[in-house]
Amino acid sequence: MTVTEGCAEALKAMQEAVGEDVMVTEVDAFVARCGCSGLVFMFRGLETEDVSDELVKTALKAAESVGLKPDVVYVRTVPGTDVVIDVGVRELCERCSEEFSGDRPRPDLRVVWRRG
């Protein structure tokens, strides 16, 4: 499977998971300079209360299908609001593991799943 094929499948699965009231606009795969890697799902119409177990499971499954071993799933919001900008599934590098501690490492980030 190519990167774009993996992202396209992830986008389709996520759109099915969140339903028609929410738009999944883009799925990006990334490798960061620090060593982190992951997928980012971008949304329109999603708020933090809408982030369901099914959404998280879908994000994890999509990440695993492209070979990632996720450490966290997190939600990034518009500062000061519950409006979700994107949901990230991330395999963390050593340094970011330390920085990404707690349920809200930053005011605009909420960790909704962490490897046990």
Binding site: G80, E98, R106, P107
Partner: protein, 336 residues
């Protein structure tokens, strides 16, 4: 040894503060105060503000800090308070906001604009001049000394101990130690003005940030600029013990785990890895460069005693950069 007092960043949310104070339990005796950005609905600040402190139970946060023996300050260092609006309307809004902060138990504010500083001094006893007022001489400090309780130095004079000594005779001095910005940065006033609009009531948005891109471009092309940045290593704080009343650690937009690492390094006076890990600089910079902190031992002696600031005639920082700065191999680049 002089007891050091630290002023530490707080991103602004209650869970974050609780995690921060718990993570710093062993060193809290050295922490004078936490500081966080003001609410962007009321007034802008000089850094990205990722929350709305009032919405985030500010009163409870203040109580939490106080219960740990730590003061709670709010940064209101917009460089453009009027933003084209009538002075009286801005004044009323600002006064009302400050009075609400004071009622919530906030201990002090950090202000850049001289007019806002005058207004703030009617509400708070603890009013600290922001580094964005660019106080770099005793003469300039005099302008603020009637209404401010302390000044945060213009970081460009961080390594000029004679100037710091002279300013400290006028007013209490706070020193930002983990400064990651360019020395004599040509973008600085304009970049912070942009932040003041982006993270203030104007809610200005922009497609991209020229100042940031240029800041990164300059350093990627000339790594010696990383060495010239006016940071102070944790190991070198002793040079300032008799000159300043507090050490400020920048980084209120960072994750809690990062803040704990940086604060612990400075309180303990030691960091054994990449200095960029604890500097308040763009994250991309520390992902790209490794600056061996051990290799910087002794550099402060040169800056304190022999630096003239005439870099084109010297070359000390350029030579040092060749020795201690290296590019990090991308994490995923090694085969296997």
């Amino acid at each position: 040894m002089t007891r050091r007092r630290f002023w530490i960043p707080h991103p602004g949310h209650l869970e974050g503060l609780q995690q921060l104070l718990a993570g710093l339990e062993d060193v809290l005796d050295e922490v004078e105060a936490v500081y966080t950005g003001s609410s962007p609905s009321h007034v802008g600040t000089g850094r990205p503000n990722l929350n709305e402190p009032e919405r985030e139970n500010l009163e409870e946060q203040v109580e939490t800090a106080h219960s740990h023996g730590v003061m709670f300050d709010v940064v209101v260092n917009t460089t453009c308070p009027l933003g084209g609006k009538p002075t009286r309307r801005v004044l009323d809004g600002f006064q009302g906001y400050l009075e609400r902060l004071e009622k919530m138990g906030v201990d002090g504010v950090i202000v850049a604009d001289p007019w806002l500083l005058r207004v703030a001094s009617d509400v708070f006893d603890r009013v600290v001049v922001s580094c964005l007022a660019f106080v770099n001489s005793p003469e300039k400090a005099e302008f603020f000394s009637d209404h401010a309780s302390a000044v945060t130095l213009d970081t460009n004079v961080n390594r000029n101990l004679d100037v710091i000594k002279a300013i400290s005779k006028v007013i209490d001095v706070k020193l930002i130690v983990n400064e990651g910005c360019l020395k004599d940065c040509p973008f600085r006033p304009f970049h912070f003005n942009l932040f003041s609009h982006m993270y203030g009531p104007d809610r200005t948005t922009l497609y991209d940030d020229y100042y940031y891109r240029r800041c990164m471009l300059e350093r990627v092309k000339n790594p010696e600029l990383i060495i010239k940045s006016p940071w102070v290593r944790p190991e070198d704080l002793h040079w300032y013990d008799k000159l300043v009343s507090g050490f400020k650690i920048g980084g209120r937009s960072y994750e809690i785990g990062w803040i704990i690492r940086a604060v612990c390094a400075y309180v303990r006076g030691e960091y054994r890895s990449n200095l960029l890990d604890i500097l308040d600089c763009p994250r991309e910079l520390r992902d790209h460069f490794y600056v061996d902190n051990r290799g910087l031992e002794g550099a402060m002696e040169h800056w304190a005693k022999r630096c003239t600031g005439l870099c084109h005639e010297c070359g000390f920082c350029k030579d040092l950069a060749r020795k201690v700065v290296r590019v990090i191999e991308p994490a995923g680049a090694s085969p296997g």
